[in-house]
Symmetry: C2
Subunit: 315 residues, 2 copies
Amino acid sequence: MSEKIYVGVDLGGTTIKVGICDAEGNLKQTYEGPTKAEEGAEAGMERIAQYVRTIVEQSPYEWEQVAGVGAGMAGFLDIPKGFIKFSNNLDWHNVPAKEILEAKLGVPVAINNDANVAALGEAWGGAGRGYANCVCYTLGTGVGGGIIINGKVYEGFGGMAGELGHMAIVPDLEAINCNCGQKGCLETVSSATGIVRMAKDAVERGDRTSLALIEKITAKDVFDAGKAGDEVALRIINRAAYYLGRSMASIAVVVNPQRFIIGGGVSKAGDILFEPIREIFKKYTPEHAQTGVDIVPASLGNDAGVVGAAGLTLR
Amino acid sequence: MSEKIYVGVDLGGTTIKVGICDAEGNLKQTYEGPTKAEEGAEAGMERIAQYVRTIVEQSPYEWEQVAGVGAGMAGFLDIPKGFIKFSNNLDWHNVPAKEILEAKLGVPVAINNDANVAALGEAWGGAGRGYANCVCYTLGTGVGGGIIINGKVYEGFGGMAGELGHMAIVPDLEAINCNCGQKGCLETVSSATGIVRMAKDAVERGDRTSLALIEKITAKDVFDAGKAGDEVALRIINRAAYYLGRSMASIAVVVNPQRFIIGGGVSKAGDILFEPIREIFKKYTPEHAQTGVDIVPASLGNDAGVVGAAGLTLR
């Protein structure tokens, strides 16, 4: 039993999920418990350490096989130092997470943000397995992303690489303000929030659409209406897809990945979203930058975070 | 005299320029001679080898100090194999350049395309010196580019990384066809060709501009007119700058470089081009992706190619 194992921690606002992966990114075991973030960062760090010890105890592996522990979370991080500057959803500030967890566990620890970790999970053990260079999108409330270069998360100069939701992609005439302070960001149109906003606008304008009958429209409602042939819903879906496809066309000549991977709740819509994205990508990308390049759904679902976190110390 | 030196070859359509650099990318000596491409690839390879031997003989260095030779050129290359598939301006086809030159010279040889090599030159010994992550633009007849990650040229899956001129950046309503087969590429507006086209369009439309008096408008004419206060010229310059700035805003959240470097003939226009680029970049880039990031002119001029080529085997 000398095989090395890697433990991943997906640190969420309400739940901490931990998982054990082998060196190939296969998820072998999971365990989860409450975050109780309100008890503070110190208690939270102890809870993480506890869950990590527990999952290994409950597994067929020995503690000596643990080669590293990684944790993914939302928030502003100093990634090289493993320092949580500020986490909105946990309300934790200035936590030297790597230092604390390494002292508690006695193994190397790394932290990274949730979008990068999900990207690494897909690249290592999911839809990007075997592809050295991929770009991952996470379509949820916002649009997150991660750039995988030579199998590793690429963070860039200030840790902002892969913040694909903030590509300035919408022309001024149609641009609306984004939470980030800029205008025309991709996530203003291609996130669940953007899709719901466009649907509400259409209903308010009085467009003829079945969405007008729904009290609280969700992105899923828009996709369902589109699948049922609602033309307004289809127009909204195509607009979200159009800017995703155009952003990929630009990325294709900047980092030229072999594979684009799209995950997150919105990606579950399937072909009705993927087909127009592929069409637009094809239309706006020079032939040499699209040859051999594909656009595929993520395959790990909610496990991407825990798998990617497990991979942090290895990759 | 155990210091290692690196020889770079800038293989142009009419002239072959060679240079010797030290390990820090300082250009110590240059030499040049005719390409005589029409005599064929075999004679051309022999000529390159000859020029490399000659420059070292004429220098204070010994042949034993040569740690590697690199060559940059226009054309379709198989970079890892060091193979010239097709060079338009030389009319050479299927030349195993690396293999031939290594046999002739007995030292490691690498080849790469001219835009990547110019980017590496600036990153190694020019405006990017000391910056691990930069993105370089070359504004000439077209718009070339290069992505430098951790001090090395990043080529991407199919060698198309850094083909910044083909970012699909112009909205459909204003987009025109590009040589690459797509529409709305950056180089349709921000290259010398794009600037001249916009100027001709303005003159043909009957816009009131001093450019109407010029028989054969060049990009420099447009910048000169702009500096003299010609409003039509300024509008054209601002449009070229606008799309450059927007492309940088997108790149800032994809690879988040520390420095953007702009070279090539068009960049000599100076502040009249750089100021609006910086303004647009600031406007469309999230704060965290522009903090500490700057946009500067290239500093090596025509030497970027020979310096970058010299750096190929090292970096």
